[in-house]
Amino acid sequence: MTVKNWQIKRDMAYPYEEHRPRKQWAIVFDLNKCIACQTCTLACKTTWTSARGQEYMFWNNVETKPYGGYPLAWDLRVLERLGRQDWAKNGTYGGKTIFESAPANERALHWAPSDEDWMYPNVGEDDCAGGSVGAGGAAFTTMPHDKWFFYLPRTCAHCTYPACLAACPRKAIYKREQDGIVLIDQSRCKGYGECVRACPYKKSMYNPYTRVSEKCVGCYPAVEQGIQPQCVVNCIGKIRIMGFISPPWAARDDNPVDYLVHKKGLALPYYPQLGLEPNIYYIPPMHADRAYLAQMFGPQAEGAIARYRELAKDPVAQGLMVLMGSTDRIIHSFKVEKGEATGFNEAGAELTRVPVTEPVVERAAWDEGASATRHNTP
């Protein structure tokens, strides 16, 4: 079948017909702000994966790029199999996706992770990549940094063209019409592990106790009630916002996700060249190596960073950024006016209202009344 993939700006081959859900679940992450506290990981783990057979299972994980990966080197291993591929000058992907380069006996180009690959959730946690310290000046005075790393939080991307779903010979994986969440039918899965092999992001995992594969459920019980996922609402850095993304031809300027992805071009899908149209979007980290970012986020990475650095000139985008992490509800639309950003639910009712810039109060270091020195420790 031929389907339209807007992220690579062209049609591509996929085992099933194009079928876009009524709404599509999506998370935007600002990678400039993630501190790898792993609160998201634990929020997911305590909610969903605390039972037998899930001991080493993290549906949400945070890894330090370039070296960390859960499972080990998941990204390098699929890129290596794909071989060198290029984007055309006009932003169209000229290379092959994992579906288009599938061997004759398979539904996608893939590799099977082993148990050992899952056992080190973040190898290289504290390791930088980059040039030599002796190159002159401090590594942090140049942009992008001479030495660099960044944290990459990841959930299932509830892809428009999921490889997990494509690969399942039992058709036990389905994508929901109402929100685009991709689920493994726990009653029909037979644990063949085809999805574990096929998902290039390695977000389908095997439970050896139930002998069934499992994956991030997008916190659908919360989403059904208009509440954002656990890994989003518990994010300490307030780097995340979950909402519903429209395809670019139906984008709405007042939809937070559409605004960040389509209108401003600030947030980008990761490894779009694999062809899945993944629905987690990242604002690229501006201090990291640009060639690496171009490989991960495609040719738009440079422009996204340039626009991010101009954020101070755009009060609407700034307002939207402060709405991230300001409510546990799903924001369907937002507006920014008179120095305030407001988020609304699907019915148009106000969910939250925040000042775009927090008021600053300066207090003297010495507190006369208490005869004490003030300090910032609460």
């Binding site: 398979e106 148990d115 095997y206 002998r211």
Partner: protein, 283 residues
């Protein structure tokens, strides 16, 4: 259908003259209530029929090669039960367990509806269901040594606690599977995979990706492996409600599939018969 498959089918059509020999299933006086590959009845039964298998060629994912080219089949019945002895070469025992480890397995397939023209041999088709008896080494392990716990599979596994299961339950009443299963979605949804098995599954299918496990209808199986060979006996009642029904003096068709777990075979990665084997029951 890919060109490759079209070629395979035309090749098969032109070799129709080489159609599979029929299997004769004599009526015997023997105790077939316990599956036993070493039972004397197999020595006196008609010689084994060699049935050709090939790497499943129809749907992806497919096996790269044909790992099992042949399964030997003997069968007898006692008027109420029919027993099959299936033998094939496999260099090692594979019982699955951890991620990426798969089980040795074998399956026999019967058409559900009685007809001179059997349904498509690849797991039937819509309204042309097939009845499958599927033995897995993994499930036999469950029956013989218990369903493995994560600790059995990963002896060095370390875990602080599981939900509803604390080292010191204090004043809390002890909790059982009913309270714990909601945390294990495979079990909570009643997936047969997630529970200890007897060794053989009965499955009804109407084409690829439609199979569903049925409640047991009294079939039994037992496999033994020695010297690079599996010998598996599957016993089933002649009659079965909603499934294939056999009768002394009657005819049926048989299909076979073999999985070598050690070769990474699972699901559609299997070796199968490309045509039905006709069978006749003695009376």
């Amino acid at each position: 259908m890919s060109l490759r498959n079209v070629l395979i089918f035309s090749a098969l059509a032109s070799t129709a003259a080489l159609a599979q020999q029929p299997l004769s299933i004599p009526l015997v006086k023997a105790d077939l209530s316990k599956p036993d590959a070493a039972a004397a009845v197999w020595g006196s039964a008609p010689a084994a029929l060699n049935v050709m298998l090939m790497g499943q060629p129809m749907i992806t994912p497919r096996p790269e090669t044909t790992s099992t080219a042949e399964v030997k089949v003997q069968a007898v019945h006692d008027g109420t039960r029919v027993a099959f002895l299936l033998t094939w070469k496999d260099p090692e025992v594979s019982e699955a367990g951890p991620l990426g480890k798969f089980s040795d397995a074998v399956a026999i397939q019967f058409p559900v509806k009685e007809s001179d023209v059997p349904p498509p041999v690849m797991m039937g088709a819509k309204d042309l269901p097939v009845h499958i008896f599927h033995w897995r080494a993994q499930y036999q392990r469950d029956a013989e040594r218990g369903k493995p716990t994560p600790k059995d599979l990963y002896p060095n596994l370390n875990v602080d606690m599981y939900p509803m299961e604390f080292k010191d339950m204090g004043a809390l009443p002890a909790k059982g599977d009913a309270e714990r299963d909601p945390y294990s979605p495979g079990r909570a949804t009643g997936n047969p995979q997630a529970y200890a098995k007897s060794g053989v599954d009965e499955i009804i299918a109407e084409g690829f990706s439609t199979s569903s496990v049925q409640e047991g209808h009294g079939s039994l199986a037992k496999g033994t492996w020695a010297n690079g060979e599996w010998r598996v006996v599957i016993v089933r009642p002649l009659k079965s409600e909603g499934g294939n029904v056999l009768a002394p003096g009657g005819k049926t068709f048989l299909g076979f599939a073999v999985w070598q777990g050690g070769q990474g075979e699972v699901g559609s990665r299997k070796c199968v018969t490309m045509m039905w084997t006709p069978a006749e029951l003695g009376k």
